[in-house]
Symmetry: C2
Subunit: 312 residues, 2 copies
């Protein structure tokens, strides 16, 4: 097997076996008495996660935002964020001040704060954020729970962050770049959807809609049909990259941090009262399908996935 | 100021200002209804934190143990551990299996488990553990609370991990090496001491006793006298490194993960019923002092501190 590498999802399966089962959700869920405590952690580092154009404030914002998005996906209210920061030798005081202001500003924007952390010297800038939240026990939303016949929905628009990456790589000026660098997780929407009691399963689409659908499908043991014409492709994205590329970005590009969720068919109005959403398809028995002009084709898992570890 | 670097404690003060105050405790404390939730995070990486002789199982054990020690220091019961692991290209399946077994075994040894995490590809092995715990609100122990006249105490023996580092560096075979590589945080002792209600302030001594005393002194606005002859220097350490060096290790070497705490003078018996402890001195109005043969001399802050960030 020399030269092989493990994909992130395969690695997670292996680790889950070693550790005796880790729930496949955006957050871990712990009994905290009256409510559930939800907790999530995410390691970001310079080379893989921070594009060159990102300023240190944005790096700080991003490190907190990606974790809060996982709190949002559980329908939880954030209760605090911990930050472990490995700072490289070239990090000067300006960099440090901006980075930590980014942490604090993102937390404050979502009504929470940085409650603790750890600093360390590191060769490469490495930031691990951990977000904590609480949710009423009967409101918590998980990846499992979707049932055939449920409606498939998303918050916001899709493909904007992908457009930002494209614009940056092609040296085009575009507002999408800000969307890529300063994501806005859907905390309010997540909580409101949980309270609506109309949602059967939820996760965020941080690795792209397609991968999220594969994850939801696996855990809920269902499939999905996505109606292409229903996808809320980000405004003006098609103008910049063309119609086909825009659709591909809406389907597969990571970084949007929207919520993908399923709604009981009779309760769509309750979900709509909770937040702005778009119905993009429905839950079926098996497979991930894209429907265009009445025709269905299978969707391959496509999206952002780190490759990890050499296999000897 | 070119060429200067910030010490970890100075950096933490600066960050605390930016973030509007972060409590100086082993864990962050969050209201979770009937109890407090305590949470801590620690980033470890190959070069700084994992000696060459460490095997991957020990790296995993260590990453969990350092965090559980912070839970112990609050008098809390662990409720779960999150692990973010940045794995280098040379990490093969054996390495990954052993590393994650180390995480899981340490958590299980202390009656908790790995509840979630994140994996990432990284140039240098980097592990951020986050430990969560719960504690009754009226039992939580903090760094502040020590008052002049209280007795200064420690669990276990001191200097063993320092002896392990010395033995490794000097290529001497010694059981101290295991103590360095497989630390055993004092979870039971921490909880029992909290329940005894005899303790006024507590923290772990992960960076060495001297640095812990400086931290406790700053937060509690007190001083300490340590009676040198009372220090529970690890058995046989003096035989290996000599009497003076052994005392220095007991006072300043990091890695022991014992609990340092202060006890109301009338309640020493209650504390003794909670766990084995040694009274090593007492709380005074100001200064950190070492007493030998009736004479007192001031102790300088000496211990393990990462240097972080260039200042331009």
């Amino acid at each position: 097997m020399s030269g092989n590498v493990l994909g992130e999802r395969e690695l997670i399966r292996r680790i889950s076996e070693i550790l005796g089962g880790v729930e496949n959700d955006d957050c871990a869920v712990i009994d905290a008495g009256e409510r559930y405590l939800v907790a999530t952690t995410d390691m970001l580092h310079r080379k893989t996660d921070f594009p060159d154009i990102m300023n240190p404030w944005q790096m700080g914002w991003m490190a907190v935002a990606v974790n809060l998005s996982d709190i949002a996906a559980m329908g939880a209210e954030p209760a605090g964020v911990l930050i472990a920061a490995g700072l490289p030798p070239e990090a000067d005081l300006y960099f440090i001040d901006e980075l930590f202001s980014g942490f604090g500003d993102c937390a404050a924007y979502y009504g929470t704060r940085i409650i603790g952390g750890d600093t360390d010297a590191h060769q490469e800038l490495t930031i691990t954020g951990t977000a904590l939240g609480f949710v009423e026990k009967d409101l918590v939303l998980r990846r499992r729970g979707a049932r055939a016949g449920d409606l498939l929905c998303t918050t916001g628009a899709l493909g904007g962050a992908g457009g930002g990456l494209w614009a940056w790589q092609n040296e085009v000026e575009s507002e999408f770049i800000t969307r890529l660098l300063e994501p806005e997780p859907r905390l309010k929407e997540g909580q409101a959807l949980a309270k609506s009691r109309a949602v059967t399963a939820m996760m965020d689409n941080s690795d792209g809609l397609a991968l999220s659908l594969f994850d939801l499908a696996e855990v809920s043991r269902v499939g999905f049909v996505v109606r292409e014409e229903a996808l809320p492709v980000a405004d003006c994205l098609a103008k910049m990259v063309g119609q086909e590329k825009a659709l591909e970005m809406a389907m597969s590009a990571g970084g949007d941090f929207e919520l993908v969720f399923t709604v009981r068919p009779g309760e769509l109005e309750a979900a709509r009262r909770a937040c702005r959403l778009t119905v993009i398809g429905e839950v079926v028995e098996e497979g991930i399908w894209m429907e265009r002009g009445g025709e269905r084709r299978r969707v391959e898992a496509k999206g952002y996935e780190h490759r990890i570890g050499g296999v000897d």
